[in-house]
Symmetry: C2
Subunit: 455 residues, 2 copies
Amino acid sequence: MERWLEQNRAQALAGWYDFLRFPSVGTDPAHLADCQDCATWLRDWLAALGFEVEFLGAPDVPPVVYATWRSPDPAAKTAMIYGHYDVQPADPLELWDTDPWEPTLRGDRVYARGAQDDKGQVWWTLQGMRACLESGAPIPNLVLVLEGQEECGSASLIKIVAADPARFKADVLMVADTSLAPDGRPAITAGLRGVSSISFRLHGPDHDLHSGVHGGLAPNPVAELASIVASLHREDGSIAVEGFADGMREATTEEIALVMEEPFDEATYRRETGVPPVGGTRGIAPQIRGRLLPTIEVNGFHGGYAGEGGKTIIPAWAEVKLSMRTVPGQTPSRCVAALRRHMESRVKPGLRLDMIFLEPGAEALRVPLDSPAIATARQVLGEMDPRGAVVRYEGASIHVIGALAAAAGAEPLLVGFGLERDRIHAPNESFSLQQAESCLAYTAAFLKAMGGAAR
Amino acid sequence: MERWLEQNRAQALAGWYDFLRFPSVGTDPAHLADCQDCATWLRDWLAALGFEVEFLGAPDVPPVVYATWRSPDPAAKTAMIYGHYDVQPADPLELWDTDPWEPTLRGDRVYARGAQDDKGQVWWTLQGMRACLESGAPIPNLVLVLEGQEECGSASLIKIVAADPARFKADVLMVADTSLAPDGRPAITAGLRGVSSISFRLHGPDHDLHSGVHGGLAPNPVAELASIVASLHREDGSIAVEGFADGMREATTEEIALVMEEPFDEATYRRETGVPPVGGTRGIAPQIRGRLLPTIEVNGFHGGYAGEGGKTIIPAWAEVKLSMRTVPGQTPSRCVAALRRHMESRVKPGLRLDMIFLEPGAEALRVPLDSPAIATARQVLGEMDPRGAVVRYEGASIHVIGALAAAAGAEPLLVGFGLERDRIHAPNESFSLQQAESCLAYTAAFLKAMGGAAR
């Protein structure tokens, strides 16, 4: 593997850079052609490697790249590899040190939007797979599912999976879109939170009003919306939305033990984010708050004058974007409904609250820890790092994994190589060459182990 | 006067349009040259009329146009006319039916930014004055003070007045920047609220954080700022800021009687603004809430993602712009300090609140109702409208009036011709030809009465 990498490093890096240059922002219709170009580029690359490649989905959304490769061994098992080539918007652009669409190597790290999430992890997974194919080692049949809408809810892929689950039959579902342990140990992710998003606009006066003439008379939609948003949480930081926790199952002793096993260092957190970990419910350990409890976060709030200095108005409207992370037992659609009821019941007469965006999203995920795939991954990762792999719950979400694994009858195996310092979703996202090589090495070793195991 | 108007209407209208075409946004440094051009245009127009004109103030701010005309009668009294040629920003541009910088007549109304506030009122005041000059009728000496920073606090003029009060000696200070009574009756404004503005930015994480990874761990500055803003008012809408009301004098029986005399029609209010009058403290009459009580309003609130759909982040910061209206007895600087203490004391550890804008502003104004100028105005307005003039308190503010009147030893006389439907500070601002002609007729009649009275 090391020799393969030595011989192919320059070419693999160049391909990665090309992959990163596509501004494949899946959520933004203005970037549809970029997403299509990026998918076409992936298709050509995979076809050259011997894959049969198809685009799935409607023509007006980023295509799902669906590619298959069959082992000559009729007894071979099947590994499905899931990843996404869409990325978050790059804004605010002014905070990037270099162009987000022109990958730049500084030290050991490549900076670009998507350098890690998820183009970096996808690319180095594909390189590991390619190394296996070129070595001729026995590996399982491969089904690749590379989508372009993960960052906005995977709507297209969820439909495709529901309509034709047979396409997705596999023995394992490999996903490289998660993180290493904070101390750099390899990690198997055994759970993710669910995520749902909803946005509202609170309408007040027909037009901005003079705040001198109307102050004390007209209701102020910005102040009112701020009050409603403030009412979502109690003084102690816990969620105050009635019905939001319905059906929620308490974290198990095993889950709590697993997250508490992982050290949490406040000073490191502070250094990496600029804030102490004081979010969520007071009095609960940060590991539990960040992985095993639900959240409601404000992703954006906008209303009224935003320019220099002041402008004495009562604004006509205000808008809030909210997302929630849910845990096992919570039903996203019921959480959304509870949040909506909470918001609507607090609107002062004379104002009007409109829902302007809704992505009910997917449920939280739990992976059984006793599967053969996890045993193989543990063994492979143990050989890469003498400290062995840790099992983790992550607070983030990957919409489609639950549906994909269920429809396919495959066990999900989430092994990723991210680190907090990669700053995914933020300006100056990056991925180190070391992380990239670990991703490649793990993929190759796992596929070889699985190919050998199949004989 | 009617004959003068008939002969000069087309020319006066053309001049008004030229005046309105200058995008003289005094608060925005990008429009400094436009303000200077507008002031130069005024200077030339006044010089042609026989005025001595000077620009006062520093070269990097919109100039104060200071113009004088001396009556041949050595016994003549002096009238000072104050107005402002700066206007509010025109944004949001997309809500204007026609270009805000290209005056457009529809029906009886001229639409443009500044059509009323205050270019319209200034222009038609100047036309009334010009008609007097051209008629040769005896009128008082004239001192014109036309500034370009009223909408952002009159900082330059306040300094000039303090440095050289002698320039501003007069027997009356005429101000046309207020409104008619809602039923269209002429109105003498006997009081204004004070106004002060302050903006804050609440800093959270160094960069936007992934809301899945960090939800429940990192504090959310948008949610925190929403809570702080919500804490400014009590459940009943009253102001909850400790120390804000220090020194505030309760409204007098006379003030209450005057504001309650004016009918307030909820249906009309709703039709004109799109909202019922449910702002301010519940259980208090709208006339009192809008004129005689202080307010704290949110003029703008911005943080996090504002684009289409969703973005799952914990934003790095949030910003709020607040303005307050104050009443007699309140000291603006103390109100600002109280508000600041309230905000700062509620910041969660790990977050940082920066003040990013401050305009401590001016105190509330009360005009004595028994002055000779008010008696003359009452008589003149009574001749224009058989219903007679009403005396009003307005909720709005004109920063410099108190300082200008005090330094000059002049009695302030606030007679304006605005109506709610003019939509000042909002898109589609307008002023009707009928209001314009009333403004002209009143100015001419008052100056003639004052000129006659001087003999």
